[in-house]
Amino acid sequence: MSIKGEAYIAGAYEHPTRKAVDKSLAQLHAEVAKGALEDAGLTKDDVDGYFCAGDAPGLGALSMADYMGLKLRHMDTSETGGSSYLLHVGHAAQAIKAGKCKIALVTLAGRPRADGMAIGTKPRSYGSDSPDVAFEFPFSPAIVNMYAMCAHRHMHEYGTTSEQLAWIKVAASHHAQHNPDAMLQNVVTVEDVVTSPVIADPLHRLDCCVISDGGGALVVVAPEIADQIKRPKVKLLGAGEAPKHQMGGRIDLTYSAAVHSGPIAFEEAGVTPADIKYASIYDSFTISVLIQLEDLGFCAKGEGGKFVADGNLISGTGKLPFNTDGGGLCNNHPGNRGGMTKVIEAVRQLRGEAHPAVQVPNCDLALAHGTGGSLGTRHAGATLIMERV
């Protein structure tokens, strides 16, 4: 069974807040849900499928269905961290194809800033019964030093440089200057990035994404519903998902789960990386982008440094415009989960509704890719390929 052409993204909404001390987590989920449904010209009474992840409060989809008053016949709280929402789009398409629902809502919300998470250097634990924790947490793995180890190894094997990584931030900042909601709107240079303080070597402060509150939502619908909606049509062509873990200690930090999820999505869509006009790439750190671009086949393994350099990711000048909202690096990384905003900006590009300064001309084919968990330990990759029709 293929999901190619079996579902459309009819609604997309990014919450404008970046600091939500005045709102509850459930409230944020409900606000983004309303925003995406209004974008599609639908109401909550139209929704019959609902998807959310571990960021949702309580019992996930059950608690939020209760809060929002949803009447559902399909729900799914699959959790793979920041890539969850890309999986959810694929799962929603499968459910629609199987006749389990027709109008699926996907929500993400988080408020790490309101909850006092000011920095990303604190070690994270997923609970003592997670089997890896006893063998990792005592060594103080934070998010940033785990990604830093990926960067170090990539530099060691392929000669990737801090200056090449910096170009990824530079490109994101060129886009963010046009986004009035972006947390960081100043254009930065390679020198700005490599002279910013080292957080966990070799990663600098400007190699890291922002920490923000907020969220976003998507509405995925059956083809017959999409036909009735007065919005540009964004058709789902392919979806791939896969975990990458340590295989019992056979660790290789130079690649990500995108080597698995990418080919699945491309094969289903029947297109190649060369066909893609715009790409949303998960950007928790600059190194995340570089490794995923290689793994998705936009360049050869080890060539990512050269590929991203000299503005190749900047819309209007580069060959592969990426993250034209400013991405997680400059715009928004709500709830420390960047997957939702990746899909939303791809939808904007396909609709021709990105900011005019960064809109890709004739953008009819886009990719969005997410990584959830940690590139340095275990994570899940999810790839979506979408077409404007």
Partner: protein
Amino acid sequence: MAETRTIAAPHVELETQEYWDALKDGKLLLKKCRSCNASHHYPRSTCPHCGSSDTFFEETNGKGTIYSYSVMRRVPDPYAIAYVTLDGTDVTMMTNIINCDLNGLSIGQAVRFVSVETETAGTFVPMFEPA
């Protein structure tokens, strides 16, 4: 005096009790499988390579090589996290590099195991120092 980093005590399950007990005696164990002969880490009762439950612990010689590392700088007490590949195996494990110049570490550097007491007296974790 900078605030010293706390080494969190591991949550010990019966499944891995032997591993933690050995660290008290200054020994680093590695889990192996009698069915497929492969080693793995973190230790499990079921081999992640072949699925057999015929697994056992074997003592390592404690020698390793830095696969990758990063020094966390923006904390009161900077420290080096690392992945170390155990010599003669295909197993790489997360650890800290200690008793070292934090500016003098490199990928490929030879290191040796040292058992380090955690915040809970009598509970140890495996770290490495330059060989």
